[in-house]
């Protein structure tokens, strides 16, 4: 069977499985729709959380980004895992004890204010929509590369599938589908990693392969070899970074705290039966995430080494087919600056303006013609970082079924995250906005109908973003984490750990953190992108890390305002005291 046929078979089988599970586990009540009835065993919930968390970005993009950033890529590895420690220690058990459905539920009741609830809903919607747009795009890319359909057709197929199980199944359907999706995606990630690790180092465990010796007789370890190869080509060492220590610190912190404040992650811990299960479940979630996250840096280093060795100084005609395939899709470009017909890969941008703009027809050696002026550097290759994971099996000449598996895995990662996000979006609309704010006396049946309607509505918006991707998607990822870190996390943390935090303080803090972070990112990313260099940054902190400062501002403003305004009512203090206990309540 051809690779293409295999891909159809794998993707078709996995989709059938997801739909089957959705029909089998559909939700009958709002409680099942919002929190899967609160009966999900902790290990399964951990697995579902891992699938929910690991998006198209984790599966497709992360290893590619690390491959090109080297040590600096560590911010994603530590940032996107360390947040689970904060979640397990500081939020999950207490929010589970609180025992309601949504993050704005907690903010609204703890700060006895509809306005606070609405601020939380706004943050949640911005964060979730930013995120979901990227997922749908990921679905489109995988479809167009591996199934050779239009990107848009891919998005429509993805929408239909998600529609099915998010709208029908609610949290219950999503949870069990995500368990299946986790199995698919982790298998798809590990198989090529193990193959490549064995090919390069004879060690089948990628995590150890990353530290092992290359089997080419040079006696160098993978990382030492990569350092020396890259330095020869004019890059910095793979194992050292270019970013300042403070910036790495701030980005890592913003990502960790942002992770702990992401509503679609937090809400997963509302689905387990007990408080102790919430803690345990966070541990399991991180185990399942760590399997992929400790493999990713190995995949990254292997891919970079393979890429350089396969491409550099190879005649264009002799480059492998993946090079030309990705060139045809527009994610690789080659400008033969010295006219020798061979591909030269060095540090620096190959083309003026960064991204390639293709002209009509072909060049002398059959490459796609480019409109861009070649830059002054010796580098002739433009390569989009997103292709590394998808192209990795082809770069290493792995069998067709592995390539098909990776396509199914990428789709599982994108769909599971999209579904989780769509659920928190629909919940915040039907529960927080309609039931709790706008419409009084909504019956259980009506609320469930609204929940389904808003899930359908959210799927359509997400699909719209997938078909007409806003050019800013890549730039606004910083928003999601920055805003979660600067607004949602502090409000939740203080709500649990500081009884004295009152309505006025919390609202002022959320608004201050949000406005500051939002303003900083908008200024550097949209208004003055040319000024987006370290010299202009506040304390040398990039927009990616500014959520950390936003969080500090939130805390400072909240604590000062709370000192000078009416103290928290006693009833709320009692509620906090009860939340702190794993079971029961404090005797009056």
């Amino acid at each position: 069977m051809t690779t293409q046929m295999l891909t159809y078979v794998f993707v078709g089988l996995s989709f059938t499985l997801y739909i089957g599970i959705a029909i089998w586990t559909r939700a009958g009540s709002t409680k099942e729709f919002y929190v899967a009835g609160g009966h999900v065993p902790p290990v399964l919930n951990g697995m579902a959380t891992a699938a929910d968390w690991m998006s198209a970005a984790s599966f497709i993009s992360m290893a590619g980004i690390i491959a090109f950033m080297g040590y600096d890529g560590s911010v994603y590895l530590m940032g996107w895992t360390g947040g689970y420690v904060l979640l397990a220690f500081l939020l999950a058990p207490y929010l589970r004890k609180f025992g309601k459905f949504t993050v704005p539920d907690f903010v609204g009741e703890r700060y006895y204010s509809k306005f606070a609830r609405i601020v939380a809903v706004v943050c949640l919607l911005i964060v979730s929509f930013t995120y979901v747009a990227g997922q749908m795009r990921g679905v489109g890319i995988v479809f167009s590369r591996f199934l050779e359909v239009e990107i848009n057709t891919g998005v429509y197929i993805g929408m239909t599938i998600v529609f099915f199980y998010a709208v029908l199944g609610g949290m219950k359907g999503i949870t069990y589908t995500q368990v299946a999706q986790y199995c698919v995606l982790i298998f798809a990630y590990l198989v090529p990693a193990i193959f490549i690790s064995m090919m390069l180092t004879d060690n089948p465990i990628p995590q150890l392969g990353l530290g092992a010796t290359v089997n080419d007789g040079s006696g160098l370890s993978i990382l030492a070899k990569l350092d020396s190869v890259l330095v020869d080509l004019g890059f910095g060492k793979y194992t050292s970074g270019n970013k300042s220590t403070l910036d790495v610190f701030a980005i890592t912190a913003a990502l960790m705290i942002g992770t702990a404040g992401l509503p679609h992650v937090i809400v997963r811990f509302f689905t387990v039966p007990k408080v102790s299960d919430a803690r345990r479940s966070a541990g399991w979630a991180l185990v399942f995430i760590a399997i992929l996250y400790t493999t990713a840096p190995a995949v990254a280093a292997f891919a970079r080494l393979n890429f350089v060795e396969t491409i550099n100084n190879t005649q264009y005609e002799a480059t492998p087919s993946w090079f030309k395939n990705w060139e045809n899709i527009g994610l690789i470009a080659w400008a033969d600056k010295n006219g020798d017909g061979a591909v030269q890969y060095y540090a620096g941008d190959a083309l003026e303006g960064g991204k390639p703009q293709y002209g009509e027809g072909r060049g002398e050696f059959g490459e796609r013609a480019l409109i861009n002026t070649p830059s002054s550097s010796k580098n002739e290759v433009y390569v989009d970082r997103d292709i590394m994971v998808l192209a990795n099996p082809e770069i290493s000449n792995l069998p067709g079924w592995v390539i098909a598996l990776v396509a199914a895995g990428g789709l599982a990662a994108a769909l599971s995250t999209a579904a989780g996000l769509l659920l928190v979006i629909s919940t915040s609309i039907s529960h927080d906005l309609l039931k709790k704010t706008l419409v009084n006396n909504l019956s259980e049946k009506q609320e469930l109908r609204y929940a389904r309607l808003s899930a359908a509505f959210a799927v359509i918006i997400a699909g719209f973003f997938g078909v007409y991707p806003p050019a800013f998607v890549a730039q606004v990822v910083a928003f999601a984490f920055g805003l979660a870190a600067a607004s949602i996390f502090p409000a939740l943390f203080m709500g649990i750990f500081m009884k004295s935090m009152n309505r006025e303080g919390a609202i002022a803090g959320m608004l201050a953190g949000m406005v500051f972070t939002f303003g900083y990112i908008v200024y550097f990313k949209f208004m003055e992108p040319s000024a987006n260099v370290a010299a202009n940054w506040l304390f040398g902190i990039s927009p990616e890390g500014i959520g950390f400062i936003g969080m500090i501002i939130n805390f400072a403003v909240a604590i000062s305002v709370a000192k000078f305004t009416k103290p928290t009512p006693d009833a709320i203090k009692d509620m906090v005291a009860n939340i702190r206990l794993p079971v029961g309540e404090v005797k009056k």
């Binding site: 560590s74 530590m78 004890k97 194992t239 408080v275 102790s276 803690r279 794993p582 029961g584």
Partner: protein
């Protein structure tokens, strides 16, 4: 939310013990990631560990493994703490209120 009544003294002692444990574990969390992986990464890179520079290892592998361990240690210690204070939730069948209509 369950019907067990717990005296204020017990609740306060339990909370203090929890905070002490959290501070200990959070300092480990901070040291392995922000300490070993970021601030002191270059200093640690002079040492080697299974073919890795040590600082680089902490940043890309070690910190993640220690994070996992930390959550399970916390979970286990809290279990013990809750048994000692006799406020264990093991026998709680379902702490969601069944009448989740919410007294609004």
């Amino acid at each position: 939310m369950g019907h067990q009544k717990i005296s204020k003294e017990i609740a306060d002692q339990y909370w203090k013990a929890n905070i002490r444990l959290l501070l200990k574990l959070l300092s480990v969390w901070f040291i392995v990631s922000f300490g070993a992986g970021v601030i002191f990464v270059e200093d640690l890179n002079q040492f080697h560990f299974f073919g890795f520079k040590l600082g680089f290892w902490f940043a890309q592998q070690g910190s993640i493994l220690i994070f996992v361990a930390l959550i399970f240690i916390y979970s286990h210690k809290m279990q013990k703490l809750e048994e000692a204070f006799n406020i264990n939730d093991d026998f709680e069948p379902d702490s969601y209120d069944e009448d989740e209509g919410e007294a609004s």
